[in-house]
């Protein structure tokens, strides 16, 4: 650890990534510019990297037009700003949202499937979600390698902290770590994005943070980015006179964000333009989305304005003849942004699920219900269940907090570009107050909503390297279960339930190990072993060995795990041996499962894979 003198924070976002760098010595954070293609033969720098990869047709551009220093020119396609902008016009060749595919439960993350549904790109030229993630990381690494902001920092002496959504399950975390190691990122640890945002806030407050929170506080970290929303709850408690912070609950992966709002605005504006007698084509619609976003920002930034003009350029070169404009007025914006996305719903209003039955196009599971308020209600409801299930978590809270429908936060830390708009923050606070009998709910302010995650990652890395600074107690964000078929008499038409045995309890800390003592498995050497694997974010009380009679109804199936117990020394294939299951959370934050021979030191690692049904 002594050799690590710098810390690089990477916010690997669904739509945008950012880098921060600091040295352990002066702890001064620098946002690194990222080198990327701005066009053919043009390499520019900007503070963020759009997470987009474009796969050009063979003759679309001149050979070598997208060579970026430090990035392997043999790899197909190019990443970044021009990829996003150009790809918007040729979506069949654009790889986007790779991160959401990484946590998709039903696809093989190593299989070349992106751009999803593209018919112009043959399968052998497509990329897997894992490969696309590697490509983004490669570009980030190249910018880090050639940075001039902190001389002397290189991948040998730099601790890398890579953020992932709190909603990422073990498989997605594992794949992210694997991608980082494949591109040679060096020493990498993972951390949850909402926690990173909280570390950034702690750092902003300096020594004063204790004046802003007190024991019993339940802090909601509410992160709404471009394409996804991610929630976490952090509880403040008194630990022998010191304030202790513990992350007690994480949300699910919700594919709903600020981009949905911009699109909704653009659709409304297009209808308005058509009513006014002008029409726009698909290309102009893309421009309208940008214009709507900037109109929204202007209106939200300046409460005095009642409307702003929104113009869409012509497609051809005659700008005067073909440009169309309309007005975005405040009433429409508020109707869509506040009443559409954040209406004041009841605490019992849950998001509508996808209508069952009928054929549905297979793809990313975008939120079926665009109402963010309801997703927040569901998160807080599950959080309450989670806390109620655990004695140790209940102790940290005031008794009043455990009553009611939801776990009501007492303070909110906002993150993500969506919350640059003051009215959006106010509306969330108003909503939460309406759910908690109009109790005061504070805003923990002072963060940079776009950069806090990258900054917080860096702050966390520095704290870890120096041993100084506040740590949020976290550990595993969910509990994990092994699925075992129950042995019972076969009854026609009745499928026996699958038992779930807890192998990793929620909150299991990094660098610790657990053994499933009550269960011994008799496995045959040389044969493939296959288990179903489940998880839950709302069963904090379960310990290793806790058994649930029906895993399918009570838990979420996340992946399959498999291994092949190849015979080791002095063992022969076909022999049945007794093994016990060991689980370990590594220092890097990855979960590992091992089958350990009960009578020797021999052990086999279990691999996560995609479930096939």
């Amino acid at each position: 650890m002594d050799s690590l003198k710098y810390c690089l924070g990477i916010d690997l976002g669904t739509s945008n990534s950012a880098l921060t760098l600091a040295s352990v010595e002066d702890r001064e954070l620098t946002v690194l510019p990222i080198k990327q293609a701005f066009g053919p033969n043009s390499v520019g720098e900007q503070s963020g990297l759009p997470s987009a990869l474009y796969l050009p047709a063979e003759n679309e551009f001149e050979a070598g037009a997208f060579e970026t220093p430090g990035v392997d020119p043999a790899q197909p396609g190019f990443v970044g700003r021009f990829a996003r902008d150009h790809g918007a016009q040729s979506p069949d060749r654009l790889v986007s949202s790779a991160k959401s595919w990484l946590c998709h439960g039903q696809v093989d993350h190593r299989q070349a499937i992106l751009p999803w549904g593209s018919t112009v790109i043959p399968t052998e030229e497509k990329l897997s979600p894992l490969a696309a993630t590697q490509r983004y990381l490669e570009v980030l690494k190249a910018s880090f390698a050639s940075q001039s902001q902190l001389e002397g920092a290189n991948s040998e002496n730099t601790q890398v902290v890579l953020t992932v959504p709190a909603s990422f399950d073990e498989v997605a975390r594992h794949l992210t770590l694997e991608a980082a190691q494949a591109v040679g990122m060096g020493e990498v640890i993972l951390m949850e994005e909402p926690q990173a945002a909280f570390y950034a806030w702690l750092d902003k407050m300096g020594g004063n943070w204790r004046e802003h929170v007190s024991p019993g506080d339940i802090i909601l970290v509410c992160d709404v980015g471009g394409g996804t929303s991610d929630f976490s709850l952090i509880v403040v408690s008194d630990d022998g006179g010191n304030l202790q912070l513990e992350r007690v609950s994480v949300g699910e992966h919700i594919l709903l964000g600020g981009d949905n709002l911009d699109l909704a605005l653009a659709y409304a504006l297009r209808a308005q333009m058509e009513a006014e007698g002008s029409s726009i084509d698909d290309w102009q619609f893309l421009a309208l989305v940008h214009a709507a976003r900037s109109g929204k920002e202007q209106l939200f930034a300046n409460p005095e304005l009642s409307e702003v003009a929104v113009s869409v350029p012509s497609r051809g070169s005659s700008l005067f003849a073909g440009s169309v404009s309309t007005n975005l007025n405040r009433a429409l914006l508020e109707q869509i942004a506040l009443e559409g996305f954040l209406p004041l719903t009841a605490p019992t209003d849950m998001p509508q699920e996808q209508v069952a039955g009928g054929l549905r196009e297979f793809g990313l599971s975008y939120a079926a219900d665009p109402v963010l308020s309801k997703h927040l209600a569901r998160f807080l409801k599950r959080s309450l269940e989670n806390v109620r299930s655990s004695e140790s978590l209940k102790e940290q809270l005031l008794p009043a907090a455990l009553e009611g429908e939801l776990l009501s936060p007492t303070a909110v830390l906002f993150n993500g570009g969506f919350f640059n708009a003051e009215p959006a923050r106010q509306r969330v606070l108003q909503l939460l107050r309406s759910w908690s009998n109009e109790q005061e709910i504070r805003e923990l302010s002072g963060s940079d909503y776009a950069l806090a995650v990258a900054q917080g990652a860096c702050n966390y890395g520095l704290a870890k390297l120096t041993g100084k600074g506040v740590r949020i107690k976290a550990g595993a964000s969910r509990s994990y279960y092994l699925g075992l078929e129950t042995t019972m008499m076969a009854i026609p038409g009745f499928k026996p339930p699958v038992k779930g045995i807890c192998v990793v309890p929620q909150g299991m800390e990094e660098g610790t190990e657990a053994v499933l003592d009550g269960q011994e498995f008799g496995l045959i050497l040389g044969q493939d072993v296959h288990f179903r694997f489940f998880s839950s974010t709302s069963r904090a009380g379960d310990q290793v060995g806790t058994t649930l009679p029906n895993a399918e109804s009570e838990l979420e199936e996340t992946s399959a795990i498999e291994t092949r117990l190849d015979p080791l020394e002095n063992m022969v294939a076909g022999e049945a041996i007794p093994v016990k299951l060991h689980s370990r959370v590594t220092e890097l934050g990855a979960l590992e499962l091992w089958m350990q021979h009960t009578r020797s030191e021999a052990k086999w690692k279990l691999e996560f894979s995609v479930r096939t049904e």
Binding site: P33, F38, G39, P40, N41, S42, V43, G44, E45, Q46, G64, E67, D85, A291, S294, A309, S311, V312, P313, R315, S317, S318, L319, F320, A321, S323, V324, S325
Partner: protein
């Protein structure tokens, strides 16, 4: 270099002219903004290649010149203009702000409303490009239309004296325009192989269905 100054100068003139057309009063603001864009282009050029502007006039002597025995100042050499750099900036201004379309279109045959709609596109896009590729700040923080004093030793190239110019500084006058300058460049780099033709400002677009 000269090319950039000439083009930039023409743009300023053109945009200021447009701003003076009475029927375009309501877009004058946007046009002024554009002339600033163009003016900034000149500022870019001027700051980027200071050695070339030095040929115009010898600089004001320093207040207390140190009697150091130094090599004679290198003679100013007129370099070939870097057309690639110019194209990069123009390409960005065109791509994000439709700058070239705006200037090359025939403004006379359109209504104020049409020109206004186009001007908003140009203003928004060009502002974004300038903010991200350059750091542009006023030459002086003093208020326009207020008195200003230029002390002896002031940065001569930062100020343009007009009117009754005579005598030695300090000069007492009225600040009519606060000026613009570039303090930092973050222009994209053109990576072309030796001898390859320069790319167009904007390629022609062809849609395949």
């Amino acid at each position: 270099m000269k090319t950039i100054l000439i083009i930039g100068g023409l743009l300023v003139a053109l945009l200021n002219l447009l701003a003076m057309v009475p029927s375009l009063e309501n877009v004058a603001l946007a046009l002024n903004a554009l002339s600033i864009v163009a003016g900034a282009g000149i500022a870019v050029a001027a700051t980027k290649w200071p050695s070339e502007t030095a040929t115009a006039e010898p600089a004001e002597p320093e207040p207390k010149p140190e009697p150091v025995e130094a090599a004679p100042p290198p003679a100013a050499v007129a370099k070939e203009p870097d057309h690639g750099e110019l194209l990069q900036l123009l390409a960005q201004l065109q791509e994000k702000g439709r700058f070239v379309d705006f200037v090359m279109d025939d403004v006379a045959s359109y209504s104020d409303q049409q020109v206004g709609a186009a001007a908003r596109v140009v203003h928004q896009g060009c502002q974004t490009v300038l903010k991200e590729s350059l750091s542009i700040v006023p030459v002086t923080d003093k208020t326009e239309n207020a008195a200003i004093t230029l002390e002896p030793g002031y940065a001569v190239s930062d100020y343009r004296l007009v009117g009754k110019v005579q005598g030695e500084p300090p000069y007492n006058g009225l600040l009519v325009h606060k000026g613009w300058k570039v303090t930092d460049f973050k222009l994209p780099k053109l990576s072309l192989t030796e001898g390859a033709p320069l790319p167009p400002i904007a390629p022609a677009q062809v849609e395949l269905k």
